[in-house]
Each structure stands twice: as structure tokens, then as C-alpha cells.
Symmetry: C2
């Protein structure tokens, strides 16, 4: 009963392609394709070309490996940014998350993933050597490890920490604690425990 | 705080295009675009081109207005189908729904919408005249009205009924009744009422 018969091969191709995307099933794919059929041909051409252009022309920054339209990304090339601090993140989305806080003025280093033996991702698959080289230039005074607080994230943090130990650089990590706006009773014990151990001076918590 | 800064113009363009699709917000669009960036360039090219090709090359069947790769669609061109029955539906998706039941062997007529003064859609925007012409050829013995049971659907049904009245053709509509597998107590009164009025012989309900 569930063998779908499409009235057109072109339609079927487009539905197949859409349903390869994460979180889009065949029913949603059909809905999206029928929507595109109702749009102007020029709009659909723009859509299709934007994807092709994206994949073929996008570059990765030579310094921090963030995606970029140029050899050196906008952040690394910005003279107003503090070049002595590097924030190490897993991927491009994390760069955007940190940027959106508007609380950070240093540079980034995008690892391209985290160490995960289950998925076959080892240290050599990540941009860790290039991070060590950046630190070895001597311009960097602080490396902030901003990876997920999962086992994989912790493993990667520790691997990088061992690689950088002994070099003239301060290694920090994000503060863990109760989320702003959260009720204490709904905070898990590990987070609450860490936020007690790492408690901060009340006056300094008032400052921006 | 919510001004999103994308590290690349190409990325931003692709996110903008994806988020124009129904049900896809900017966060989902970014997720889809980052997924495409991790795929092979050839796969992304295929995806982009399948959309462009779809929009530029797809045809509508000259007879029933279903979408098709050819001038006459596969259904209308199939000699095994019963050409004396026409099932009138709102759109392409409804053709697929009826086909999936595997209970219908006649032809279709896709109106391209239903009469909806609120949305500015009148009878002249729909393929009603061409339906009347098909009936006037004299080959058609039955027209099945299979539109939604909404006010707009009922209006459109009635409009078509008046246009076809007096011609040598039987006009039928889908049976309304309790869904297969549904509890009586959860069925709305109008549906339950209709299924009482239109009750069928028990023996005939056993047949396939």
C-alpha cells in the first residue's frame, strides 16, 4: 500500500533529493517540492544555484578553519580583535553561538569535530596540530576550551590540554553552573555541585 | 542579541533560500545548509540541479492537468484505465492519495485549487471549463467529485454540479462516514449522521 507512485520522474528525483536531508521525510519532501512548483522559475533557479555555489565556492579560513568567502576569515582579519586569545570550538555553529553572546573579542579555532572513537574520529582527523602550531608562535597568551560537556568533549579537552601543557599559555574552560533564569530544584546535581565549587564573588557577578 | 552574523555570504544566501520554504525556520535552514557542506560536491550539485530541472522542465498533462514529464500523463495515456469515469480532485497530491488506495481505475481531472473568495480564487481560476469540455465529448459516463469536505469544497462541488446538470453523465461524490478503525463515541455528529443516512447493505460492505 505504501509504494508511492509519482506522476513524474522529475518530481520523484526532487523528492528523493530533499528526503536525503536530515529530519525531512518523504511526505515533507513532497510538500516542499510542490511548494517550489508553485513558485516562479527564477526563484527556484536562484535557490538551486545558491546551493551549488555554496558547496563549490566556499572556503575554510587558513588560520582558524572557520568557513569563509576569503582565504582568511572576517574574524581573523579584523584588526579590532584580540589576537592573543583563542577559543577552541567543535564546529562553525559554535563560533556563531559564541559570537551571538557579544561577550568575546578574541579569535577562534574550529576543530571540525571532537574525538569520538565510536564514530572513528581520532585526534588526527581534527585540526589539533594546527592549533599547537598557532600557540607555538608565542603570540597567544590564553586558550579557552569551549567544547560540549559530554564524554567526547571532555576527552578532547584533555587531549588538547596535554598537547599544550608546558607551553607558555594559560588554558581555561567555560564556567559550568546554573543557567540564568533556572530554578535550583530543576538543576541536576553535577551542575549544581560544580557551581558551588566554582562559586564567584557576589560583587564580581554584578559586573557586566 | 538576535542579529545573526554568518561567517560567509554564500552561507547566508543558502540559509535565506532554505528558510523561504514552508515550515523551515532560520535555525533549521542553517542545520540543513551545514549538512550540505559536509556532503560531496557532486551530491550537492545533483540536488541543486534536480530542483532547477524540476521547475523548468515539468509539464502539465493536456487532458487532466496532472503534472507529468510528457504532454499526456501516464494515467491518461494508459490503455488499461477506464476512460469513462473522471475523478475530480483539487491538486496533484490528491491524485497520489487516490492512486495509493489502488481502488480506482478511471481518469482524473485536477482543478488546481478550490473556489475560495477569501483567497481571491474564483471558478475562472480553476480548470472547470476544460472539465465541462471533457464531459461534452460524450465518452464520460460518471464524474466523481472528490474535493475536501470544507465549505470551499462543498461550494466547488455545487458549482461543478450545476455546470454538468442536464448533461448525460452521472455525478457522484465520495461516501462520508465513520473512518475504518474509529470508535463511534469519538466520531463527530455530522459524520455519524451522514453514515446513518447513507447506510449500506451489510452484505455489500463485506465485498472488497
Amino acid at each position: 500500500m505504501n509504494i508511492e507512485k509519482y506522476p513524474s520522474k522529475l518530481l520523484e528525483n526532487a523528492v528523493n533529493e530533499f528526503s536525503k536531508l536530515p529530519g525531512i521525510g518523504r511526505k515533507s519532501a513532497l510538500r516542499l517540492v510542490l511548494h517550489l512548483l508553485r513558485r516562479d522559475a527564477s526563484e527556484v533557479n536562484t535557490f538551486g544555484n545558491s546551493l551549488i555555489q555554496l558547496r563549490n565556492e566556499i572556503k575554510h579560513c587558513m588560520v582558524c578553519h572557520n568557513i569563509s568567502d576569503t582565504e582568511i576569515c572576517q574574524i581573523c582579519a579584523n584588526p579590532a580583535r584580540n589576537t592573543s586569545v583563542i577559543c577552541v570550538v567543535e564546529n562553525i555553529r559554535d563560533v556563531m553561538s559564541v559570537e551571538n553572546t557579544q561577550q568575546y573579542n578574541g579569535l577562534y579555532h574550529v576543530l571540525g569535530g571532537i574525538i569520538s572513537p565510536m564514530d572513528g574520529i581520532g585526534p588526527s582527523d581534527l585540526e589539533i596540530d594546527s592549533l599547537v602550531k598557532r600557540v607555538e608562535t608565542g603570540d597567544v597568551t590564553e586558550v579557552i576550551l569551549a567544547l560540549s560537556t559530554t564524554m567526547e568533549g571532555d576527552t578532547t579537552n584533555f587531549y588538547i590540554y596535554r598537547k599544550l601543557k608546558g607551553k607558555e599559555v594559560k588554558i581555561t574552560t567555560l564556567a559550568r553552573g546554573v543557567s540564568v533564569g533556572d530554578d535550583l530544584e530543576y538543576t541536576d546535581e553535577i551542575t549544581l555541585g560544580r557551581s558551588l565549587v566554582n562559586r564567584v564573588n557576589y560583587e564580581s557577578s554584578l559586573g557586566k
